[in-house]
């Protein structure tokens, strides 16, 4: 698997642009996850037989397994690598991925997201409306955020109150001024104040949100909140001194007149041929199973996997047992069955 990518040119074998090496996309075609004839609402024709040939020649035959087993292996290893990357930005930063909803975007995100979630112990997956062009849509629909940080290395104790208060107030004033300059009024602004804390002599800190201003008697409760957060992450408590590393203020400006993409709905077919069926392999044990394929525009308010949801921008893969609900904003919310 990798590290070389087929890129957009020549791309996966099934694009028919001269790529002969098997890609993850080809594996997804072989397994039935992707439409065997066309992607992106018919703007990209694909040839499933080229995927089969590439997987068979380069993966299945050398390993002495059949094409489906090889494709599933390709997919599993790709999933494992992605799960590692998710761990790198959760566990390695001191947060537990199980506390989160996995948000899947990009053309392939919704193709893999439910598998990744299951691997990471995540129960909820959210596939935003326009997931395949998520970043571009988001740019037009987002708020403005300013993050201001000021180093303030010092032991956490009562004597620090005036300095902490001054630093947080200063950053907040700076954040408000910056937001005002961008045209936000005071009632469009939201401010979050944090203190980054760690045990003395450590190298990695946790940001703890402080509510209200820093008053006398602040240190003990703040220390306690740090200990609670630390114990949640690392599962032990230490008795050592706690030190402040930095203060930070997040200023958000809620923009008026943003792009409201909640009313956008995509479709792979323009409303024709909204429901069909194809053979999809979700697990080695169960083999290929007949799986309904439904156009995004025809998805009911609630449906149960196995199910493939096709749209112009992506393909959502809903594994057996998972429940998908389309919310009023056009997002797909998926709840995986089983283990917490």
């Amino acid at each position: 698997m990798g590290p070389r990518s087929a890129g957009a040119e020549p791309g996966p074998a099934c694009y028919g642009k001269g790529g002969s090496q098997a890609t993850v996309t080809d594996a997804n075609v072989v397994l039935g996850y992707l439409n065997p004839k066309e992607l992106a609402g018919g703007t990209l024709a694909i040839d499933a037989s080229l995927s089969h040939a590439a997987i068979t020649t380069h993966v299945a035959a050398p390993l002495g397994v059949d094409a489906a087993a090889a494709a599933l292996g390709v997919r599993e290893i790709a999933n494992l690598n992605m799960a590692r990357a998710i761990r790198a930005v959760t566990v390695e930063r001191g947060v537990d991925p199980r506390d989160f909803t996995l948000v899947a975007f990009g053309g392939s995100g919704p193709v893999h997201a439910c598998d990744l979630a299951a691997m990471l112990g995540i129960r909820h997956v959210l596939m935003p409306n326009l997931a395949g062009v998520f970043t571009a849509a988001g740019m037009l629909a987002g708020d403005i955020e300013r993050q201001l940080v000021e180093p303030l290395p010092a032991p956490l104790d009562e004597a620090l109150a005036p300095r902490l208060r001054a630093a947080l107030d200063r950053l907040e004033a700076e954040a408000r001024a910056a937001l005002a300059e961008e045209g936000f009024t005071a009632d469009q602004m939201a401010i979050e104040r944090q203190v980054d804390l760690r045990f003395e002599n450590q190298d990695t800190e946790l940001g703890i949100t402080v509510d209200g201003t820093i008053e006398a008697g602040f240190a003990a409760p703040l220390r306690e909140r740090f200990l609670e957060a630390y114990e949640r992450v690392y599962e032990y408590r230490a008795r050592d001194r706690v030190e402040v590393v930095a203060v930070r203020v997040v200023g958000r400006g809620h923009r008026a007149g943003k792009l409201d993409f909640t009313s956008y709905r995509t479709s792979a077919t323009g409303g024709t041929n909204v429901a069909s069926e194809r053979q999809v392999m979700f697990a080695r044990e169960s083999g290929f199973i007949a799986t309904p394929v439904i156009d995004r525009s025809a998805l009911p308010a609630e449906a149960r996997g196995p199910l493939i949801v096709e749209s112009l921008d992506t393909t959502a893969v809903i594994p057996p047992g998972a429940v998908v609900r389309a919310d009023e904003a056009g997002n797909l919310r998926i709840e995986l069955e089983g283990r917490a």
């Binding site: 090889a70 292996g73 599993e76 761990r87 001191g94 002599n201 450590q202 599962e235």
Partner: protein, 450 residues
Amino acid sequence: MTTGDASPFADPITFAVIKNAFDTIVDEMAYNVMRTARSHIVREVLDYSTTLCDRHGRIVAQAKTVALHLGAVPDAIAAVQAAFGNDFAPGDVVIMNDPYEGGMHLPDIFMFKPVFFQDRLQGFTVVVAHHCDMGGRVPGSNASDSTEIFQEGFRVPPLKLYERGEPNKTLFRLFEKNVRVPDLVIGDLLSQYATCRMGERQFLRLFERYGAATVESYIEGLLDYAETMTRREIEAWPDGTYSFTDHIDGDGFSEAPIPIKATITVKGGHLEVDFEGSAPQVKGAINSTLSFVKSASYLSVRCVMDSDAPNNAGVFRCIDVKAPPGSMLNPRLPAAVAARALTGYRIVDTMLGCLAQIVPAKVMAAGEGGNTVVCLGGYDKATGEPFILVDMINGAWGGRVDQDGIEGSPTRRRTCPLPVETLERAIPCASRLATRQDSCGAGKWRANSA
């Protein structure tokens, strides 16, 4: 799902998935130490290692940490098993550092957490960390001029630091009383503990996902696979006996060169390494336990291997290492051993000297001879508080077979020198980090500046 079949080739894909999962677990453990440790030597110099053993104590996966530690884990865990047999319960944690009972040198504390799945011992999560002080004559407990282990600090045979989840208060109190900076030492012990538990949870998740029979059979398969790959590679080497002798300049008491002699016998996919002919144990603290000699030997062989065989006990099966009892490479009590790292580096040099005769195209020129450990310690004048700082200054690699050596990187291990900014914040002194002009070796492919 395949069950009960030890062949990794029965289902190559699950095999790859489980293999990757093991690698992920040990690497995540390594990050966990970095985030929770207190001392500079652990959290910034990165002198620690994480690994996973199966229920027999065999290494299943090694994190990308200090390989020189990990090759010594088999002897360490054997000492733990000798001390406790099967007397382990969920929640137990065993530590030890005694070089004469499974350890390497006193600052390196091995921590093992037995892992149980459905009431059955299934393995151990392991964290080895170089602690910044273990008491003894000098701050950092790493003097090269000690002459007895008793001068070097606090010796801990295999003991339970936690018993069924309850801390062993006696042992914690003894640490507090025997080291100069108990906050840092106990802080680092807790970091090891938290990491062992974190690794345990992840290890158990595999058992929950695949079932014990499958995981056990894939562990067997993984070890066999590493052994097969290693043997296949060694089979391509010319059979024969090859010797090389290198020297250490002195032991701090005598300036007479101290010989280290390795003889490698290559025979049908198997290596025998014999250090017969090396110096008798010396007065200074550069004697090296046999476990560390094995580790340095495994590392050297690994350096010249092409294959990406997994770093597990299967590789070790292909390499036997021995050294005469009472020699510097297999010392008897009470020889001092604290500065044995230096000897370990020279063992690697000696081994590579041998290997250069076997696979000349794979061996780079001799490098800086290993990094230099600097221990600074004392008492802050203003507060009377003790401070200790252990750093490792890197030299550079020798020229490689087809390119220059790398500068500022240790040849024999994967540690980082402390950033100057950290140093200056940590201790009351100013410092400068620079390479030394013209310290590189000339040649078509140059050694780099140290």
